[in-house]
Symmetry: C2
Subunit: 96 residues, 2 copies
Amino acid sequence: MAKFMDVHTGFVDGTEDQLREVHERALAAEASEGVRFERMWLDPEAGKVFCLSSGPSKEAVLRVHDKAGHPTTEIYELQIEVGRRADLSDTGRSCG
Amino acid sequence: MAKFMDVHTGFVDGTEDQLREVHERALAAEASEGVRFERMWLDPEAGKVFCLSSGPSKEAVLRVHDKAGHPTTEIYELQIEVGRRADLSDTGRSCG
């Protein structure tokens, strides 16, 4: 399983309820594609949403967003991850 | 404390060692600004690095990156976060 960050725009003044709806619709659609959404963050000033997920491919993640009604085309495969020892079981693991 | 995502470009073909160095230099500089870097991810194909942190302000986070030798100007305040119940103590908490 690879890890991904996808980005959505157009959420200026977005609320927690809106982000929760995006997340819940993604969770409802993810199983059919073998995707798992971990976390989503919203900057309501910039209108940007960042979604952290794992799954078999970029295309699978984007299909989940399509099915959930929140399409995007901006996605990155996070082949490499580092973090604090407290946050990762092994600091500096590869996600690829 | 607010939560932030900042983005760096220019890391095409970046390696795990390079990302670890960015992270370690940030950790060495963060305390003076009251910032805490949580995780960093690298997409070596796009050359993008995403850094998740908490701290008092965007400016404080950017100053840490400046001090660490990896300046950027692209940063977002993640006022709202949602996640799976297993990943967050309370799903859908506000970070602002």
